[in-house]
């Protein structure tokens, strides 16, 4: 067995179970060391398939390594390292265990070479991420995690049925690009899309992630949706319907984030928005687009992690999570403010940040493919990202009004994690070759042309201008916005309740009527019986009955002597 035969994800999955038993002071060595070992293993994987097993008639390949799977495994490992650094102050060991299993199985998904091992890691991710939510321990987190789990079990079931149908159809378990022409492949696509937070079941994300702990949300933002982007990228490149689904997700994310008051729910909606860009790119399907998607998934994980770290820092230090309660924090949390702004500029693809070098590849692909409408929509969406995440988030949390709160910056471990990720955001923006060299296809793209930089600056700064012009319309209120989860949280339960109360009422009427008929029937029969033979149906005391039986038996005995 060589080193490449050991699945790198298992380092985290197995290491997770050491965390509760190791002495507290050594725990940090494990939580920081294990992701680095994983990263080392991933980078040392040559191309090819390793760690293969035979399960009945099927070949399982736990490690299939190429530039695309290594890219995702790399960013997942970096995310685990940065997140663990951020989570050093997390006292809940259960959360850390769940996070490590979750991260390890996400790496398992992106390295899986066949559909069966993919499904195994996929379900491990669902269970572990539910535990991340559950580890908060509150009543709300329990309810949220159960809703979250049900959606993912539903998606997982569809995926399993799809995989089985696909294996029966094609006779192969290999995970390769699929045509959308069979029952199996359609179900697989739906299963993947549910984890990507595509409509109509997109509300699980904005419902669940804001209820995680300050550190849990950082991890949750990275793995589930991006593992889904990876499998879509691998399994369904160029499937046209994804373009429309992606564009819908982009605008859904923007509009809902604009209406939202909870700071982490703003960011949750913006995850759907960013994944929408990726899904659109997968639907376009050219080499430029797929490179753009892979690059954008990489940069997105880092800047979204950074944004959620800054939001987590605010929640950790103030205990408050609503825009209406916050404001003016830049005065006492300067470092968190700067890191949040760097994350916000990156998500808006501002020049010299990581988002600029990745997202522009996707819109370039739309332009190259002559997709006029899609290109204009992507441009409008880029402006909208600056509006809802680039300005709204930092403005309402750190500036806006003076809330009177003066929390200091968070502890050093959280500051260091934010600085690390902010550094990666800027670093990739300044030296795009670092990321471009890891992409699945050769890159023939230059992001920094004078025209492109100027046009993006115009687009973004004028959308910022629109934000401040329309600020009175954006006043935060103590509200939520109904989403698709309303159907399973309100409509269906109340409909069921009503239907059952009607059913019980009808049932009661029927049962009473039957009882009534039955007893009047018995009365009728007994009355008739009494009239027919008063003698036979008369009541006799049981004592006299016993005596008469004894008399009969005695006569029988007496007569038997005369035989």
């Amino acid at each position: 067995m060589t080193m490449s035969d050991f699945p790198p994800g298992l380092v985290l999955v197995l290491g997770a179970f050491l965390l509760p038993i190791i002495a507290k002071k050594f725990r940090a060595i494990l939580t920081l060391g294990l992701p680095l070992i994983t990263l080392f293993l991933v980078w040392n994987l040559p191309n090819g398939s390793f760690s293969t097993f035979l399960l009945f008639d099927y070949q399982l390949t736990f490690v299939h390594s190429d530039s695309l799977s290594r890219l995702f495994a790399t960013v997942f490992s970096i995310m685990t390292f940065g997140g663990s650094l951020y989570a050093l102050k997390q006292k809940q060991v259960l959360e850390l265990v769940a996070v490590f299993v979750y991260a390890g199985s996400a790496i398992g998904v992106v390295l899986a070479g066949d559909l069966i091992s993919l499904f195994i890691f996929w379900e491990m991710m669902a269970v572990a991420s539910t535990l991340v939510l559950l580890s908060v321990g509150s009543n709300i987190s329990y309810q949220v995690s159960m809703r979250y789990f049900l959606v993912h079990v539903f998606g997982g079931t569809l995926l399993l049925v799809g995989i089985l149908a696909h294996i029966i159809d094609s006779g192969s378990t290999a995970f390769t690009a699929m045509e959308l022409n069979s029952f199996g492949s359609i179900l697989i696509l739906i299963g993947f899309l549910i984890n990507a937070a595509a409509p109509p079941l997109s509300a699980w994300l904005s419902d669940a992630y804001p209820e995680a702990s300050f550190s849990g949300a950082v991890f949750l933002s990275a793995f589930t949706t991006k593992a889904a982007v990876y499998v879509l990228l691998r399994g369904f490149p160029g499937v046209e319907i994804l373009v429309f689904i992606g564009v819908f997700m982009i605008f859904y994310g923007i509009i809902y984030a604009l209406l939202e008051n909870d700071i982490r729910r703003i960011l949750a909606y913006s995850i759907v928005n960013q994944v929408g860009f990726m899904v659109t790119g997968i639907g376009i399907g050219t080499e430029m687009a797929l490179n753009g998607v892979a690059a954008h998934a990489f940069t997105h994980i880092i800047y979204k992690g950074l944004l959620l770290m800054s939001a987590g820092a605010v929640i950790y230090m103030t205990g408050k999570r609503k825009c209406t309660d916050l404001g003016g924090l830049f005065q006492s949390m300067p470092l968190t403010t700067i890191c949040a702004i760097i994350g916000a500029l990156s998500i808006s693809s501002f020049p010299l940040t990581s988002g600029f070098i990745s997202k522009s590849m996707i819109s370039q692909a739309a332009a190259d493919g002559g997709l006029t409408t899609i290109w204009f929509l992507l441009m409008a969406a880029s402006a909208g990202v600056f509006l809802h995440a680039g300005i709204k988030f930092p403005w309402f949390v750190f500036f806006q009004k003076d809330s009177g709160l003066r929390p200091s910056d968070p502890p050093w471990s959280m500051r260091l994690a934010m600085l690390l990720f902010a550094g990666i955001c800027i670093g990739l923006g300044v030296w795009p070759e670092l990321l471009y060299s890891m992409l699945p296809y050769p890159v023939n793209y230059e992001p920094y042309t004078v025209t492109h930089v100027l046009h993006m600056l115009q687009l973004l700064l004028f959308s910022g201008f629109a934000f401040f012009l329309m600020l009175p319309l954006m006043k935060r209120t103590l509200t939520i916005t109904l989403d698709a989860d309303w159907f399973y949280r309100r409509l269906f339960p109340s409909a069921f309740k009503n239907i059952f109360s009607i059913i019980w009422r009808i049932d009661k009427v029927i049962r009473l009527a039957c009882l009534d008929k039955l007893s009047s029937g018995f009365r009728f029969i007994s009355k008739k019986n009494n009239r027919l033979s008063g003698l036979l149906s008369r009541n006799h005391p049981s004592g006299s009955m016993a005596m008469w039986v004894a008399v009969v038996l005695a006569i029988y005995l007496f007569l038997s002597f005369f035989k």
């Binding site: 309810q143 605008f251 923007i254 509009i255 604009l258 209406l259 008051n261 909870d262 609503k322 003016g328 830049f330 005065q331 332009a367 006029t372 290109w375 441009m379 409008a380 402006a383 909208g384 600056f386 509006l387 500036f399 003076d402 004078v450 025209t451 100027l454 046009h455 993006m456 600056l457 115009q458 687009l459 973004l460 700064l461 004028f462 959308s463 201008f465 629109a466 934000f467 012009l469 329309m470 319309l473 954006m474 209120t477 103590l478 509200t479 939520i480 916005t481 109904l482 949280r489 309100r490």
Partner: protein, 83 residues
């Protein structure tokens, strides 16, 4: 709180300065279109100041649309509390 006690960044004078500086930058960005050769992918995106007005208009449109949608879909944030 009087002006001097406030953080320098939020004093009325600084805010005024920021607005003026911001508008000057926006103006310069539009003017820069004269000097930079555009490579339009389609027709309209090569016209003067396209990205500027497009950014402004679509953002205003999205804010208004969100506001309108909010009329129907907004609820108090205690809406789900009695679950």
């Amino acid at each position: 709180m009087n002006e001097q006690e406030k953080h320098w960044l939020v004093r009325a004078k600084t805010v005024r300065l920021l607005w003026r500086g911001g508008i000057a930058i926006l103006f310069l960005l539009v003017i820069a279109d004269f000097f930079v050769h555009a490579h339009p992918y389609f027709q309209i995106d090569g016209t003067f100041g396209f990205y500027s007005w497009f950014g402004l208009v679509v953002c205003a449109g999205m804010v208004v649309f969100a506001k309108a949608l909010g009329v129907f879909l907004k609820r108090k944030d205690t809406y789900y509390d009695n679950e």
